[in-house]
Every structure is written in structure tokens, then in C-alpha cells.
């Protein structure tokens, strides 16, 4: 394995591939993802995108549910401040995210696993940078592995 090229061609076998859930606003980040597709901009395939009409539609329950169901990271993509299609949905997102981040921190979920980014419809390159960066940071953290899975609850407490 001294040849670095060999390492490059067989990385997938034991490398951790994080699962990132993306909540993308219909008017900006989702269109950026569209643009990335039509422009053949490549980014890490670890993100599963859910389209919402506004980043403000992202209920904190969605984020917690994603983590509880096995997501290693959650990315919310919204319009730049001042650009919200619904005037101020993204500001509401920002306020909730700041509070939710503190809850996640106390629950032992690292800050890098939860991210809010403003990505406009024209910023396919920025989308690529953000997703790739997040995937690498979460990969470095490793799997989230919440100890308590609903189906394991009875066994878990008998530890």
C-alpha cells in the first residue's frame, strides 16, 4: 500500500460514508442543486435532498427526526437574508436554528452535524463547496450512532 494511487482507487470499502439529509428551499438552494445538475457540477453523493417550500417550513421536529432515524448530519439551505420569497421565512429559520443548535449541543450532537447555509439559485458552485465540506467534516466525526434506537429500547435499558 505504499503507492498512494492504489489508496485512491480503493477507498470505498471501509471508508465511512456519512448520510446527510438536506432540506432545500424551493426557490433558491433547490434550484442551485438543479443548476449544479444541468451544469454537470459534481459534488459528494452523500446528501439526500428534501424540497421544502421555504427554509422556514423546516420544523425543528424534522431535524430531530432525521437524526433519530440515522442521519449523520442535517443541512438546511435557504435564501440569502433579504431574498426570502415569503419576505422573512429565512429569518425565522435563522432564529430557530440558533436555538436548536444549543439543544443539539446539549444532547451530545456535534455542531458540525447541523448546518444552515444561504445558497441562491445561481450558486451551484457554492452548493458544491458546502456539501463537500460538510461531508468531509461529518466523515471526520464518524457515524452519529445514537445509542437509543426506538426498536432497541427495551433491551437497551436492561444493559
Amino acid at each position: 500500500m505504499s503507492d498512494s494511487k492504489v489508496q485512491l482507487v480503493q477507498p470505498t470499502t471501509d471508508r465511512f460514508e456519512p448520510r446527510i439529509v438536506g432540506f432545500f428551499c424551493n426557490w433558491c438552494t433547490y434550484l442551485a442543486a438543479d443548476l449544479a445538475g444541468t451544469s454537470r457540477v459534481k459534488y459528494a453523493p452523500n446528501i439526500r435532498v428534501i424540497r421544502t417550500m421555504c427554509s422556514g417550513r423546516v420544523d425543528p421536529q424534522f431535524v430531530l427526526d432525521a437524526f433519530a432515524r440515522g442521519a449523520d448530519g442535517v443541512l438546511i439551505g435557504g435564501c440569502h437574508p433579504g431574498d426570502c420569497h415569503y419576505q422573512e421565512g429565512n429569518y425565522k429559520t435563522l432564529r430557530r436554528v440558533r436555538m436548536l443548535r444549543r439543544v443539539l449541543h446539549e444532547m451530545g450532537i456535534e455542531d458540525e452535524r447541523f448546518r444552515l447555509e444561504w445558497i441562491s439559485a445561481s450558486e451551484a458552485e457554492r452548493l458544491k463547496t458546502v456539501v463537500n465540506d460538510m461531508v468531509e467534516k461529518v466523515r471526520a466525526l464518524g457515524p452519529l450512532q445514537l445509542k437509543v434506537k426506538p426498536e432497541h429500547l427495551p433491551e437497551e435499558v436492561a444493559a
Binding site: 420544523d59 421536529q61 433519530a68 432564529r95 446539549e106 451530545g108 437509543v148 429500547l153 437497551e156
Partner: protein, 337 residues
């Protein structure tokens, strides 16, 4: 399930009460029925109630399965004994009712899910200021001496709500439930006209609708700072949120008739969520954070910091029943025991 014993015609329906990890406040609710408790006793036979009557566990075990009409169990489940009793009550009762926030959502004891069993024991048996324990003695589940052995229930790492242990038919919310809520529930159960399984026996609407301060709530409510009750002189008539106090009424189920706001204190959310909400704390957080009066990231963070303990504030009664259930445990910690 074994064949139910034939019931003599004029025998009264049987009711049982049990407490798990709780403070005893829910038992107070039964006593707070005042003289109405006599009506309850006239209508039913109380066959098990450790806090008040001298029936033992083996008395309940001797009863045929399903022979108790309703068992009211309060408290969260955090020891092996509570788990066994929850299963026993489930087996003996036709209808199992989770009484109070702890049984319904995990309650105050559920905040132990921010910690681990080991840390809880360390805190109680070593670190608390009134404790002297240089040998670091901890409770053991089994102790043998001179051929005799004594045992204690095991403390679990994770606190659970009752329905995470056994099947629950109905929920009575509150810390504690109000006597009215309990009285209405007893009536419903005795009427035989039972609501669908899983029903929370309280109104399915936000507390604000029954708060006498509702009329003073401004159309657009925004705040530059969240205040805590000891730090502010609270006006007795104005909406508490409008005064900057974190009141969780908008996210909390009604039914208590706004007891806390009427006592000039904010709602802390003991009645839990309405039926449309899965995770109470997330929804309460969403409601409160949205009214932060700023669009600037730094200022928003400053204002958010004026809620010093977000988990304790928004999940005060519901951490075990939240989507995350507990703080993430590091693998090294779980291998204690």
C-alpha cells in the same frame, strides 16, 4: 391470558393505583378530589394503592389477569422493579392509564437522560455536599452476608415513559393532573363509553385558549430579551410572553384552566403537546425562538442565550418521549456496570 374469573353481579369494578419514578404529586391529585373521593370509593373498589392502602404485590399477583377495570400508574420507569410493576399492572388491568407527566412523557425524572446511570450515582452517593462516602460505596443489586442475601432493584441508564415499557390505553397529562381532569377521566371510564385507545383525556387545544390573559396578547409578538420570573415584576393581567417571560402556553395542551398564569407564573408545559405534535420540546422551541426580534445573526444568538437552559426549558417534562430520547452516550461510558 388466563380465563377471567366469574364476576358476581353486584360486585363493584376494581381500580388500582401505582407509582413509579415520581414525587407523589399525582397521588395528591387523588386526595385533592376532596369529598368526591367518597363518590369514587362508592362506585369502585380500590384493590391496590401502595401510598394509602396495605395491599401487597402478591395480592395483585393472585388476581386473575384482566380483573382490574383500570390501573392508574404515575411516574416514569427507571428501575427494574418499576418495569416489573408496569408489566404486572398491564397484565391485571383491562385499561391502563398513564397518570401525569412522568408516566405520559417521562417528566422531571426524565431529565436524568441528559446524564448516565454512573453520573447519577456519583452525584447522589459521592458528590452531593451532605454526603460523606470516602469508601465510595454504591448500592448493589445483590448483597450476601452470613448466608443471607438482600437485593435492590437495578437503576437503568435511561429513563422511560410508561408507554415505552408497556402498552398504554389512556393518558392523563399534568404535573400533577388537576382533580378535574382525573374526575372527568373516572367518569369516562365508568360510563363504559370509552374513547379511542391512545387518547389523552384533556382538551386538544393550546393553553392560550383558556388563559384569562389571552386578550392582551399583541397581534405581532416579538422580544429583544427573554426574562426569568425572579428577574422581573410580572404584571398580573398582561400576556406573560408579551412581558418577555418564557411562557410555553402557545405550544402546550390546555385542560389545566391556566392555573400557573392565573397564579402569575408562566406555563412550563406540563400538559405536553396537542395531538398534532410529535416532539413537544421542538415545537415549544420553535414557537419561542420565532418571536426573537432581530434579523442579525449575532443579535439573535445573544437573545437566544437569554434562555440559559434550552433543554431544561423546552423539554422539562418530556425528554424521554422526545425524538432523541436522551443525550448521546459515548461508547466508553456505556460499558460501566
Amino acid at each position: 391470558m388466563t380465563e377471567p374469573a366469574p364476576v358476581p353481579k353486584n360486585e363493584k369494578p376494581k381500580v388500582a393505583f401505582y407509582w413509579c419514578a415520581s414525587c407523589g404529586g399525582c397521588e395528591e391529585t387523588v386526595l385533592d378530589l376532596d369529598e368526591r373521593v367518597l363518590d369514587v370509593v362508592a362506585a369502585v373498589d380500590i384493590v391496590f394503592w401502595p401510598v394509602a392502602l396495605d395491599f401487597k404485590r402478591h395480592d395483585v399477583e393472585a388476581m386473575p389477569d384482566g380483573s382490574i377495570l383500570a390501573a392508574f400508574v404515575n411516574g416514569a420507569v427507571r428501575t427494574s422493579e418499576q418495569q416489573e410493576m408496569a408489566h404486572l399492572m398491564r397484565r391485571k388491568a383491562k385499561v391502563l392509564v398513564a397518570l401525569g407527566s412522568c408516566a405520559q412523557l417521562g417528566g422531571i425524572p426524565g431529565l436524568a437522560n441528559l446524564s448516565t446511570r454512573q453520573a447519577v450515582l456519583e452525584s447522589s452517593y459521592c458528590e452531593s455536599p451532605s454526603t460523606v462516602n470516602p469508601e465510595r460505596m454504591f448500592p448493589q443489586t445483590l448483597h450476601k452476608e452470613n448466608g443471607f442475601s438482600v437485593s435492590l432493584p437495578e437503576l437503568f441508564d435511561t429513563v422511560r415513559s410508561l408507554d415505552q415499557v408497556v402498552d398504554v390505553d389512556y393518558y392523563l397529562p399534568g404535573c400533577p393532573p388537576t382533580p378535574k381532569i382525573l374526575w372527568d377521566a373516572v367518569h369516562v371510564l365508568l360510563s363504559g363509553n370509552l374513547p379511542p385507545k391512545g387518547t389523552v383525556l384533556a382538551p386538544d387545544r393550546a393553553l392560550c385558549h383558556e388563559c384569562p390573559r389571552e386578550g392582551t396578547r399583541p397581534e405581532k409578538l416579538t422580544l429583544k430579551e427573554f426574562k426569568r420570573p425572579p428577574h422581573v415584576v410580572i404584571d398580573e393581567e398582561t400576556c406573560l410572553l408579551a412581558q418577555g417571560v418564557v411562557c410555553l402556553g402557545p405550544a402546550t395542551r390546555g385542560g389545566c384552566e391556566a392555573l400557573c398564569p392565573q397564579g402569575n407564573m408562566p406555563c412550563t408545559g406540563c400538559f405536553g403537546p396537542t395531538s398534532r405534535v410529535r416532539d413537544y420540546g421542538a415545537k415549544a422551541l420553535s414557537a419561542i425562538a420565532s418571536i426573537i426580534d432581530s434579523n442579525d445573526e449575532k443579535e439573535i444568538e445573544q437573545i437566544a442565550q437569554t434562555v440559559p437552559d434550552p433543554v431544561g426549558t423546552f423539554y422539562r417534562y418530556s425528554l424521554p418521549s422526545s425524538l432523541l430520547r436522551r443525550k448521546k452516550i459515548e461508547e466508553t461510558v456505556t460499558s460501566d456496570k
